[in-house]
């Protein structure tokens, strides 16, 4: 079923905004963060206006309501990615914290000097730096699956690296620069055959197409609420219950304990073991509303819409002189990074901004990938369910203006 983009746009107040007088916003930066529909904002407002309280330890009505709302979202998230149980859903701040959590708990207790972790050249800094920090501390070796000129992972290299018996393989489901959607299920299967666990960075996947962690058989899976219509300050770590159960706690404090003496404590059961202190309660509620909104439209429909829109954009952009798109055409999500002749990406973004079009310019937190391609920065347009063909046309128009200006 096609999306009614006009209707959808009207659900997002910010999309009615003008950037300067008479210049309406075209938002093409959803890979950085998504906009929020009014229902998500309302859910949080309503929480604060009606049910706000600290959770878990309270007997009074507000505390019971807040706890219920907070925990119901866990079930919703579990259902959304088809986890077996809500115990497998850990609330974090963002994808970045989810990955750090695994590195600092599972990694610290299960890895030893000389152990190998396999990553890829297309990773976001969030899936590089936590492992670099761990590697430096524990003297591990990091190995990297290379990226082909087409922007795909080199599976031959991947298989060779698996022969070295890595303990963990961690990679992104979809590249936030190339748009490449990696063959995650196949790669996880290969990793498991080689005896490695798998951590998947789902920051760009969960918002855009259906993800089934059990079908993928992922051991850990991370994503952020703010990229999927939800609030800032909220993220998810999925982990298989057996793995999470065996991991030590991450941070210490209230709620993650069963019992505390002066010099020792007994950690709480899952999922609370990993959630120390007063959590982001309103933000959980916001994510719940975001998931409802996404599910009402249907993740399959959203994926199809973005796929068609991206094909259209790809087509249109390919016709522009001196414009080079990074990454292969097939199997791509709605992210297009490009170079435009001699014009620096910052200038491209700025000229587009003057016409109301918001794209991102820079290294998109993937410096090594840019280094590999020999450019410090690219311009990046990214799409979501609220983008229309007209938005793409305005992008193309804007790019042509920039080209002319520098022509």
């Amino acid at each position: 079923m096609g999306l009614d983009v006009k209707k959808i746009k009207s659900d997002f107040p910010i999309l009615a905004r003008e950037i300067r007088n008479g210049i309406p916003l075209v938002y093409l930066d959803s890979a950085a963060t998504s906009q929020k529909p009014q229902v998500v904002i309302d859910a949080m407002t309503k929480y604060y206006q009606f049910s706000n309280a600290n959770i878990h330890r309270g007997v009074h009505t507000l505390a019971e309501e807040a706890t219920g709302m907070y925990e119901d979202v866990r079930k919703k998230v579990a259902n959304f990615i088809n986890a077996k149980s809500e115990k497998e859903i850990i609330y974090t701040r963002n994808t970045t914290e989810s990955i750090n959590l695994v590195a600092q708990t599972w990694g610290k207790t299960n890895l030893e000097e000389g152990d190998i972790i396999v990553l890829t050249e297309m990773e976001h800094h969030s899936n590089l730096v936590p492992w670099q920090m761990l590697a430096a501390e524990k003297h591990l070796n990091l190995e990297f699956v290379t990226v082909t000129d087409d922007g795909l992972l080199n599976l031959q290299v991947y298989k060779e690296l698996l022969e070295k018996s890595p303990k963990l393989v961690s990679f992104t489901h979809m590249s936030n620069v190339l748009g490449t959607i990696n063959p995650v299920k196949e790669m996880i299967n290969l990793a498991h055959q080689a005896g490695a666990l798998t951590m998947i960075d789902g920051a760009q996947s969960v918002p855009h197409f259906p993800v089934d962690v059990r079908d993928l058989d992922a051991d850990f899976y991370a994503f952020s609420a703010h990229k999927m219509l939800g609030p800032t300050g909220f993220g998810i770590l999925y982990g298989k219950e057996k793995l999470l159960d065996a991991m030590p706690p991450f941070m210490g404090g209230g709620d993650m304990i069963k019992k505390v003496l002066l010099r020792s404590f007994k950690p709480n059961d899952l999922p609370h073991k990993f959630e120390a202190g007063t959590p982001a309660i309103a933000e959980a509620v916001g994510l719940g509303a975001a998931i409802d909104y996404l599910q009402a439209l249907g993740m399959d429909n959203i994926a199809l819409h973005e796929h068609e829109l991206t094909n259209y954009a790809f087509q249109k952009l390919s016709e522009i002189e001196n414009l080079i798109i990074f990454g292969k055409n097939n199997n791509r999500g709605g992210v297009i990074a490009f170079e435009l002749g001699i014009i620096h990406p910052h200038d491209v973004a700025q000229i587009l901004d003057r016409h109301g079009i918001a794209i991102r310019a820079g290294h998109h937190c993937a410096m090594p990938l840019h280094e590999k391609f020999g450019i410090p920065a690219t311009s990046r347009a990214s799409f979501y369910l609220y983008n229309s063909y007209e938005d793409v046309d305005r992008l193309v128009e804007g790019i042509n203006i920039a080209s002319d200006l520098f022509g």
Partner: protein, 132 residues
């Protein structure tokens, strides 16, 4: 009189019938509610036909948890183990005769949880306990 705190509950809290420890006993199990630190221990004597001949509980807790423990033990004396296994959340709520939110529900069900955990053997059949 508050309709929530029925006379029965406060009466059982203040004057429990089955509070104490059994000496001797041939079954004993204890656990606590991590949310509030309430602690309950249940002692039973079970005869060779698996019949519960005597019961007592000790520990501390709120009126809901103490009264429900007292009412629960009253119910199980004379029953056999299989009958005890069949006791559900609803049985307890009927005994108490009130409606409870999720937090207080944990208080009400603590004694049943302790009893069943003990009877099943620690962790033997976690499924049946999962939603207590």
């Amino acid at each position: 009189m508050d309709d929530f705190y029925r006379e029965l509950i406060i009466d059982r809290y203040k004057n429990p019938i089955y509070k104490g420890e059994l000496d001797p006993h041939n079954f004993s199990y204890e656990d606590e509610n991590p949310l509030c630190g309430d602690h309950i221990r249940i002692d039973l004597n079970i005869d060779k036909n698996n019949l519960i001949t005597n019961a007592a509980f000790s520990g501390h807790g709120c009126a809901i948890s103490q009264a429900s423990a007292d009412l629960l033990l009253e119910t199980i004396i004379g029953k056999n183990i299989d009958e005890v296994k069949a006791i559900s959340k609803d049985t307890i709520l009927e005994l108490l005769g009130i409606e409870l939110g999720p937090v207080r529900l944990k208080c009400a069900l603590l004694s049943l949880k302790v009893l069943k955990a003990g009877i099943y053997g620690i962790g033997e059949i976690e499924e049946d306990l999962a939603d207590l």
